[in-house]
Amino acid sequence: MLVDALDHLVRGVVEEPEDVQVALKSTRRGDLLEVRVNPDDLGRVIGRQGRTARALRTVMAALAKESIRVDVIDTDRRRG
């Protein structure tokens, strides 16, 4: 449910919804939701001063009913 919810929330705010990928990973520090978007949409998902990413985290924590990490992956930087 969390993956689908985050996928939906992110698709609504980007220009290339087909490029949105969300994965749930279990880490030693708890569950992590990883978001990948088209590099051109990175700014839209992060927002001014990280405002959009913060809003996504707030809503996801509410839906998860516990703290959950949400990371927006900068794919461009990873490749480079």
Partner: protein, 175 residues
């Protein structure tokens, strides 16, 4: 229809355009939120209302329905986050910036009643003492509601402080 209304000759073409825009805004927002509720398996009805050119979306349940308080959060922080995302979804779909107001389980309307009481008490205090009254920090939307109540009472109000501490100061006009 009254006679006065018959005399009004509005610019029909523009009116239809802007009305259509506002409707689209509400539809996009309602679709975005409805699908989220579906995914999260939460029951809720979505109402769209347009007042004074602003779109108001509210998610409500009947009394036996799902508890939506988790989507409101402490001091409405989840509600504000959802409103922010919904405005962005509208901007993304229509290309127009949205000022829509989202309410969930009546949180904002209850809070508006509370703010009116706070404003009334500040008005009374400012009148009695002739001194400035500092209110608690509030969001921009909440400050707007309070400014309006103060202005209606014929008193003066200003916002002071930065970001998280931004609050209203009420004073009588002759100060």
């Amino acid at each position: 229809m009254t006679a006065a209304e018959n005399f009004e000759v509005p610019d029909l073409e523009n009116q239809v355009d802007s009305e259509q825009e506002v409707l689209d805004e509400g539809d996009v927002a309602a679709d975005y939120l409805e699908e989220l509720l579906d995914i999260a398996d939460l029951d809720g009805d979505i109402d769209i209302e347009i007042r004074g050119g602003r779109t108001y979306i509210s998610i409500v349940t009947d009394e036996a329905g799902t508890d939506l308080s988790g989507l409101v959060g402490k001091d409405g922080e989840v509600l504000d986050a959802l409103q922010e995302l919904t405005r962005l979804a509208v901007l993304n779909a229509t290309g127009e910036r949205s000022r829509l107001v989202l309410d969930i389980a009546g949180y904002r309307s209850d809070r508006a009643d509370q703010l009116r009481t706070i404003a009334d008490e500040a008005i009374q205090k400012a009148r009695e003492t002739g001194e400035e009254v500092h209110l608690e920090p509030m969001s921009a939307y909440e400050r707007k509601l309070v400014h309006d109540v103060i202005a209606d009472a014929g008193l003066h109000s200003e916002s002071e402080g930065e970001s998280g501490r931004r609050h209203i100061v009420v004073s009588t006009l002759d100060n």
